[in-house]
C-alpha cells in the first residue's frame, strides 16, 4: 500500500515536472520584423522577464511579408507591416485578428496624433498598434553634395527630381527606393497633383518625370542604400528616414570623414506607419499580446527609438527619448512640417497593376 502510494506520488511528481517543463518550452513568440529595426537587448530583456522565448526573423520589404501572410500558415505571431497600403489591404483580405485590448493596458501610453492618422487605414485601431513611424525623404553626403551642387544643404525635392540637378549628382551616385508605392506619391505631390491620385494621366506624368531623371539614378533598392551611403559609395539616397539616420550613424562610427544628413523637403513628404499586428492564424496569441504590451512600455519603446532613430507612436515615451532625437525635425517634425506630410491609401487591383507596370517602365526603360 505505502509502496503503491509512493510510486503514485513519484509518477505524479515526474508528470508535474514534465508538464511544467513542456509548458515553459511552449512559451514562444515568433516575431517577423524589418531588418535593422530593434535594439536586440529588448528581446533579451523580454525573455528574461516573461520567460517567453522570442524567435526573431527579419525582412526588408513589405511585399515579402505580404506574400507569406497571404499564403497562410506563416507561423508568425507578431508582424510589422506598413499601415498603408499593406496593413489596410491585408485587413480586408482577412489576414489579421482583432486585438484583445483588455490584454493591452499599455495602450494608454499611445499618442493620439499617430493613432488618428493610422485609423484611416485601420478603422478604430482594432487590428494594430504603432511601432515606429517616419517619412520618405532625402539622405545625402554633405561634402559630396556641396562639391556637386554648390549648396550646404538640400531642402527641396528639386535636388533629385529636376534632371539638370540630379545629373550633377549622377557621378557620385544616387539610389532610389525600389518601391512604387513610396516614390509615385512623392513625385505626384512634387508635381502639385494629389499624392493619392489614381488617374492614369497623373501617373503617366509621374512616370514621365521619373524617366527624365532615370539616367542619373544608379540603382533602385530598398535596403542597400544604408551601407552604400555610409561607406561613401553613393552621395544621395531617397529612402526611409530611420534608415538614412542609421547610415549617418554608421558613417560617424566608421570615422572615414563621411557626413550624412537627412531632410524632409519643403514640398512635403510621405508619412508612413509601421504597425504591430497579430495574424489570424498565429499559433501563440497570448504571448503575442504580452509582446505587444511589453513593446508599448515607455522605457522599452524609447530604447528602441534611441537605437533605430525612428519616431514612435508612444506619447509617454517622449521624455525618455534622447534629446538629440526628439529635437531633430527630421525625426519628430514640428507642427508646420507635420501638416505637410501626407499618407496614401491602398490602390484597387487595376490601379496597382498600372502603378507596378509604370514602375517597371521607370526602372527598366521598357
Amino acid at each position: 500500500m505505502t509502496r503503491k502510494a509512493l510510486w503514485l506520488s513519484a509518477t505524479s511528481a515526474f508528470l508535474a515536472v514534465f508538464t511544467l517543463g513542456a509548458h515553459a518550452e511552449d512559451r514562444v513568440v515568433n516575431v517577423f520584423n524589418w531588418s535593422d529595426y530593434i535594439d536586440s537587448s529588448i528581446i533579451d530583456d523580454f525573455t528574461k522577464e516573461t520567460g517567453i522565448k522570442v524567435v526573431y526573423d527579419t525582412y526588408d520589404s513589405n511585399e515579402i511579408l505580404e506574400t507569406k501572410l497571404l499564403a497562410g500558415g506563416s507561423g508568425y505571431d507578431v508582424v510589422v507591416p506598413t499601415a498603408s497600403p499593406f496593413l489596410a489591404r491585408q485587413i480586408q483580405a482577412g489576414v489579421y485578428q482583432k486585438l484583445d485590448k483588455s490584454k493591452l493596458p499599455n495602450l494608454s501610453n499611445m499618442w493620439n496624433v499617430v493613432m488618428e492618422r493610422v485609423a484611416k487605414f485601420d478603422p478604430g485601431n482594432e487590428y494594430s498598434v504603432n511601432y515606429m513611424w517616419g517619412t520618405t525623404g532625402i539622405g545625402y553626403n554633405t561634402e559630396k553634395v556641396k562639391e556637386a551642387l554648390g549648396v550646404d544643404k538640400i531642402d527641396s525635392w528639386d535636388a533629385v527630381l529636376k534632371p539638370e540637378n540630379i545629373a550633377k549628382l549622377a557621378n557620385c551616385g544616387v539610389y532610389f527606393l525600389d518601391s512604387p508605392t513610396d516614390i509615385f506619391p512623392t513625385v505626384l505631390n512634387y508635381l502639385g497633383l494629389k499624392p493619392d491620385s489614381t488617374s492614369p494621366d497623373d501617373l503617366a506624368k509621374a512616370t514621365e518625370l521619373m524617366l527624365s531623371i532615370r539616367p542619373s539614378i544608379r540603382k533602385f533598392h530598398s535596403s542597400e542604400y544604408i551601407n552604400a551611403l555610409a561607406n561613401g559609395d553613393i552621395c544621395v539616397a531617397v529612402g526611409f528616414s530611420g534608415d538614412l539616420f542609421q547610415a549617418r550613424d554608421r558613417a560617424a562610427e566608421a570615422k572615414k570623414g563621411v557626413d550624412i544628413a537627412y531632410t524632409i523637403p519643403k514640398e512635403g513628404a510621405e508619412m508612413w506607419f509601421d504597425e504591430m499586428a497579430i495574424p489570424a492564424d498565429a499559433p501563440h496569441v497570448a504571448e503575442a499580446h504580452e509582446f505587444l504590451n511589453y513593446m508599448m512600455r515607455p522605457e522599452v519603446i524609447a530604447k528602441s527609438t534611441n537605437f533605430v532613430f525612428y519616431a514612435n507612436g508612444n506619447k509617454a515615451s517622449q521624455p525618455l527619448v534622447s534629446k538629440e532625437i526628439l529635437d531633430d525635425p527630421g525625426i519628430y517634425p514640428d507642427d508646420s512640417t507635420l501638416a505637410k506630410l501626407f499618407t496614401v491609401g491602398p490602390y484597387d487591383p487595376k490601379t496597382q497593376r498600372l502603378v507596378t507596370r509604370s514602375w517597371t517602365k521607370v526602372i527598366t526603360g521598357q
Binding site: E63, P349, T356, T364
Partner: protein, 322 residues
C-alpha cells in the same frame, strides 16, 4: 512408376520456383523504376499542376489571393463551378504586353552569352586537368568543388566587394596605374556575366573533365604520326570526342541561368529585365499569383526543349559507353 511421378513433380515444382523467382525479379525491377517516377510525380508533376491551376485563376483580395479555391462542401456542383471559373485570360494577357516577351528574350540571351563564356573559360581548365599527372588530378578536382563549401549567396556578395567603384578591383587597377578613372562594373550586365560565369563554372568543368579524361590518348599520337598538326588534331579528334561533355556542361549552365534571380538582383543594375525579376514583381509587387504562375508555366515550356535535348544527349552517351 513412382520414380517417374516423383521426377515430373519435382521438375514441375522447379519450373514453379523459377517462375516465382522471375516474377519477384520483375517486381523488384518495377519497384526500382517506380521510385524515380514517384519522385517525379510528387516533386514535379503535382507542384506543376498546382501552379498551372493557379495560372488559370483570377486575383482577389483574400487568403490565398486568387479565386476560385476548390471547395468540396458544395459537392459536385461546386467542382463544376470551379472548373467553369478557370480560363486562359492570364496567358492572353502575357501576349498583350511586350514586357514579358522582352524579359524572356533578354534572359535567354544573357544565359546564352554566359554559357559560351563559361565554355570558353571552362574548356582549357578541364583540358589541363585531364592532361595533368594522374597523381594530382584528385587535388585539382577538389579545387573545382571547393567553392561549394561556402554559401553561394556569400560568394555573390563577395563579388559586390570586389566590383564596386571603391572595391578591390578598382583599387588594384588604380594603384598599378592600368586605369586612371574608376570603372563602373557593379550594377551592369558585365557584373551579371562575371557572377554567372563564376558561379556556374564548376558545372561546366566537371562534365568536360569526365569526357576528356576518358579519351584515348593513342588517337592523338596516331594523328601526330600521320602528320596531323596539333590544332587540327584537337578540332578533328579531341573536340568531337568531348562533345557529350560540352553538351552536358552547356545545358547545366544554360538552364538554371535562364531563370537566375539572385545574381541579376545583387550584381545587376535595376535596368536588367530578366524573367526572374519579372516573376518577382508580378508575385510580390502586384500580388498577382495567377499571372506570375502563367509566366512560370511559359518559362518551363521554354526550358523543356533544352532539357529534352540534354536527356537525348545523355541517352546517346550511355549507349556509346555500353
Amino acid at each position: 512408376m513412382s520414380a517417374v511421378t516423383a521426377a515430373t513433380s519435382s521438375s514441375a515444382s522447379a519450373a514453379g520456383k523459377s517462375a516465382l523467382a522471375r516474377l519477384g525479379a520483375a517486381l523488384v525491377s518495377r519497384l526500382v523504376i517506380i521510385i524515380p517516377y514517384l519522385w517525379l510525380l510528387f516533386f514535379f508533376l503535382v507542384p506543376f499542376i498546382i501552379v498551372f491551376k493557379i495560372s488559370l485563376s483570377q486575383t482577389a483580395i483574400a487568403m490565398p489571393p486568387y479565386t476560385p479555391v476548390l471547395d468540396f462542401r458544395d459537392g459536385v456542383s461546386g467542382v463544376v463551378a470551379w472548373f467553369g471559373a478557370l480560363n486562359f485570360d492570364n496567358y492572353i494577357w502575357l501576349t498583350q504586353d511586350a514586357l514579358y516577351f522582352n524579359a524572356y528574350v533578354t534572359s535567354v540571351i544573357v544565359a546564352a552569352i554566359s554559357t559560351v563564356l563559361t565554355l570558353v573559360i571552362g574548356y582549357p581548365i578541364a583540358y589541363g586537368m585531364a592532361r595533368a599527372p594522374a597523381t594530382i588530378r584528385p587535388t585539382l578536382l577538389m579545387l573545382v568543388i571547393l567553392p561549394f563549401w561556402t554559401s553561394f549567396l556569400i560568394r555573390v556578395y563577395a563579388w559586390i566587394g570586389i566590383l564596386k567603384p571603391e572595391g578591390l578591383l578598382n583599387e588594384l587597377l588604380l594603384a598599378t596605374g592600368i586605369i586612371s578613372h574608376r570603372l563602373i562594373i557593379l550594377n551592369t550586365y558585365t557584373a551579371i556575366f562575371i557572377g554567372i560565369v563564376y558561379s556556374y563554372l564548376p558545372f561546366m568543368v566537371l562534365p568536360l573533365y569526365s569526357a576528356l579524361e576518358k579519351m584515348d590518348n593513342s588517337l592523338i599520337e596516331a594523328a601526330k604520326d600521320l602528320g596531323c598538326p596539333p590544332t587540327s588534331a584537337f578540332w578533328k579528334i579531341t573536340f568531337p570526342l568531348s562533345l557529350p561533355g560540352v553538351i552536358a556542361g552547356c545545358l547545366l549552365v544554360f538552364i538554371p541561368a535562364v531563370g537566375e534571380f539572385v545574381i541579376p538582383d545583387l550584381l545587376g543594375g535595376s535596368q536588367t529585365l530578366m524573367i526572374g525579376r519579372t516573376l518577382w514583381s508580378e508575385f510580390f509587387g502586384n500580388r498577382d499569383w495567377p499571372v506570375s504562375s502563367a509566366v512560370a508555366v511559359i518559362l518551363l515550356l521554354l526550358l523543356i526543349v533544352p532539357i529534352m535535348l540534354f536527356q537525348r544527349a545523355q541517352a546517346r552517351a550511355q549507349e556509346q559507353d555500353l
